[in-house]
Symmetry: C2
Subunit: 339 residues, 2 copies
């Protein structure tokens, strides 16, 4: 087979930039590559593998000879573009929430449910960043001792919103440090020196869409329809990496050492858990890494079969770009590319 | 009865400063007042009720004619000073953790367990800040529908550590904004643009002392030894006000509207809960207020009798100074001052 041709949509965004970097670093096999972005970026050049790639407009025809289309754009853009790309024969790996819950769209974390890729109909969705790192920490435990319930509270970085949010955070802290007033734009409230319990829109039951994703996506990826999840998703003034406090209830009692062993042996997960040395996962230390870090592993003393833990991962990497490229690698490895 | 004489220990600290301000604003009856602090502050002057108070050294004799001693210092200082003051006849209202769990020391939130003051033996402890705001939100619900279990994850501001931590946060964000390296001092890791799942020292079971306090203090204040609590306490880059995500399991099913009504009617609690208008409690908006704010009230969809909510309060006010002065006011109202 020839090396696959690739189109990257959203190539100049926070995730797209990292994605291109990973394509290089992981030596992903590439025939030709085209990079697209929103009209304001069209005509710019992106350095890639020693070449200058010209940022192009997205057109229907651009997918015609593409084997893979990686889409990291808004949900609205994905809703328009993804079906077109899929119809023209590309396998679309989509980072938006637009198709994740569709029955004929595999929602995949390769370490967890690579088998689901077999049923793809040219669209594969990658999970929401807050879901991915949670499932990476839950799944290796769940196969040993089925999980009944998870309570998750998140501490999510602003890069999940995009580059504008990162600029807004820096600007607001600077303004506050200098005694100036701020004027929130990207978020409905100040994010500088604040925490906001509101990510994505609110639903009728009082949960946000982000919180709902952590329930539904987790159940779909783990094939565990009865797994109960309740989440509170909170934006914190951190640039990169999401942190999560998880309280897990298992079917049977679970020893802390067993949890550590299972997590340590799972690909893509690293245990950092030495409180005596003040060692536990930290957002700032995790930025730029592909790993999901787990620490503060202890019995949940409020319930018989409970475990509490702290999970941190770079939301732009395993939460987005890394997971996307891993899916493509898995599709090649499973020989699922119909060309 | 003459107005009570007062000694304030830790008068120049973050809590002491607010405490003196509240003494003025609430027109607390005062005979004479003495203010003490650590040696480096001795000799300074503090403006109070139009007078300049001279900061004195703490001596045993200073308590001889004091009716109330308010202590907001380190646990070590409290351990030394509090018994001396109590022996000399002062009623000590202590903000440290040194005496909270002693059987003969009432641990009091006046709205919740003012009756416990009747048994005081000259020492009254005020709860840890993260406990107080949680119990203020739990108690009015618990009396209606006994709570069986609470999972609490916190987002705690740096002012809980003190003024040095507030300076460190501002300095680090400034350094990071300017591309400089930071050197953590107050905390074991960078707090600028980071979250740290570590408040107070670690215990053998993997929990921190702060997390343990939220269990034991809650049980003591609410006279609910069987109430199961599990907490993860996390420091966030916020100056003032702690936020908490609570997941509560009741004995019976509980409607969201009932929760809102019970909380709205409880003194010291305000409900801010209008997601459609992006209204929910926020740390930055709550700083400087005596209230405990509750919002994001919804069914916990992961358990039959569950409610999830978001609780925010100024840790220096209701979490410390306000609660202390309310205790003194209650002691006067109940005529429990033995002079």
């Amino acid at each position: 087979m020839d090396n696959p041709n690739i189109v990257v949509i959203g190539a100049t965004g926070t995730v797209g930039t990292i994605f291109l970097d990973l394509l290089e670093k992981r030596n992903f096999p590439i025939g030709n590559i085209k990079v697209c972005a929103s009209p304001k970026s069209v005509g710019k050049k992106i350095r890639f593998n020693g070449l200058d790639l010209l940022v192009e407009e997205v057109t229907d025809d651009i997918f015609d000879d593409a084997d893979f289309a990686f889409v990291s754009a808004s949900t609205e853009v994905s809703r328009n573009i993804v079906p077109i790309a899929a119809n023209r024969g590309s396998i679309v790996i989509d980072d938006s929430s637009a198709f994740r819950m569709q029955k004929n769209v595999p929602l995949v974390i390769p370490e967890v449910n690579a088998n689901d890729l077999k049923n793809h109909e040219n669209i594969v969705a990658i999970p929401n960043c807050s879901t991915t790192q949670m499932v990476m920490a839950l799944y290796p435990l769940h196969v040993k001792n089925p999980i009944k319930r998870v309570v998750a509270d998140t501490y999510q970085s602003v890069s999940g919103t995009g580059g504008n949010a990162m600029k807004e955070l820096e600007q607001q802290t600077d303004q506050i440090n200098n005694g100036l007033t701020t004027s929130p734009d990207v978020y409905p409230h100040e994010i500088g020196y604040n925490v906001i319990p509101h990510i994505e829109g609110f639903l009728e039951d009082g949960y946000t869409k982000e919180e709902r994703k952590m329930v539904e996506e987790t159940q779909k990826i783990m094939h565990a329809d009865n797994l109960a999840v309740s989440a509170t998703c909170v934006r914190v003034p951190v640039f990169v990496s999401h942190s999560e406090s998880l309280h897990i209830e298992f079917s049977q009692s679970m020893e802390v050492d067993t949890v550590k062993e299972l997590l340590s042996n799972f690909p893509g997960v690293s245990v950092i858990d030495n409180p005596e040395q003040n060692l536990y996962p930290l957002a700032r230390n995790s930025a730029g890494s592909d790993e999901v870090y787990v620490g503060r592993i202890r019995k949940d003393i409020s319930t018989p079969n409970g475990i509490a833990m702290w999970v941190v991962s770079d939301n732009l990497r395993k939460g987005a770009a890394t997971n996307a490229i891993q899916i493509a690698e898995e599709i090649l490895a499973q020989n699922l590319l119909h060309t």
